[in-house]
Assembly symmetry: C2
Homo-oligomer: 158 residues x 2
DNA sequence: ATAACTGCAAACTGTTTGCAAGCGA
DNA sequence: TCGCTTGCAAACAGTTTGCAGTTAT
């Protein structure tokens, strides 16, 4: 289950912390290793669980205090699908031109390229007199395949 | 300040309630009148304030219980811009092919047409094996004009 | 040494809900 | 009348924060 840490991203984040004179603490190291050893999208709570599997000393507060640093560094992307909690994408920096689609029922998240949309979005922003800072295309859908199987919830669909 | 109620939408919503055997109470009437006499996007709290200006007896609970009915009827559209609260659009049914752009600083919301994007979105959903249920394009941006004025916050920008 | 960082638990914010009273059909 | 609806306040969920103790530099 334990995947190899993506050293590139990890290194960039540590550089980011050093540049800000932030300390590389044990807890931060564990959280970083956790984030950059998965390709899955996750919530704050999931990250906490995963990190605690490695070291029980990691607290919820530290996870919540580290997430803004990760997003600020642009190495992790924050996404809001209208659910009461946010999702985080640990591979956004590798391919920033993608968007996400979430299944209404099982919350499975699928990535897709969207150069076309990206361009249109910037055009629109410009026409309206805005500088677009972040784009987030929120598609809610239901899985066709799973729907045909008759079930598609968090338990059956993972 | 008090705009004319958009009778068309109001009538449709009352029909919606009747079809479901829901009652047309005084509080609901006030909330409906409030929603359909503005073109502005609003939050639950704003709606409560506006409704209370008409009748102090309207409670927060009733507003929160009425909003899902309004969105279910498709006469009001719920939007999530990554803020901790949701926004509602009371003219969505008039022109369902538009999306929104929000200013990061002052939270001003601007609408724009997006037939092109709409099509691409459906294509994408289909390719991936999903039936797209709702689309929400979330553009965060900053106002160019106001930025040049040096300020753009909730107070100065309304 | 000392300032940043941590865990804990309490606080906060937006939203939901149980309940007894109120009111529309 | 009957049961849907209401206001109230308490409960909730996710997130943030104050504080006293800990730790990286």
């Amino acid at each position: 289950m334990q995947k190899k840490v993506r050293e590139e991203a990890k290194r960039k984040f540590i550089e980011f912390l050093e540049k800000k004179d932030f300390r590389i603490t044990n807890q931060r190291r564990i959280i970083i290793d956790t984030v950059f050893s998965t390709d899955k999208h996750f919530t704050a709570e999931q990250l906490l669980d995963w990190a605690r599997e490695k070291d029980k000393s990691v607290s919820r507060a530290t996870v919540y205090r580290t997430l803004p640093l990760l997003t600020e560094s642009k190495l992790v992307h924050e996404m809001d699908f209208g659910k009461p909690y946010k999702f985080y994408d640990p591979n956004y920096s590798d391919s920033p031109n993608h968007n996400h689609l979430i299944c209404e029922d099982c919350e499975k998240i699928v990535e897709f390229d969207s150069d076309k949309i990206e361009k249109i979005e910037n055009e629109i922003g410009h026409k309206l007199g805005f500088t677009v800072k972040s784009q987030n295309l929120q598609l809610s859908a239901s899985c066709d395949v799973l729907k045909s199987k008759g079930a598609c919830d968090k338990k059956t669909c993972d």
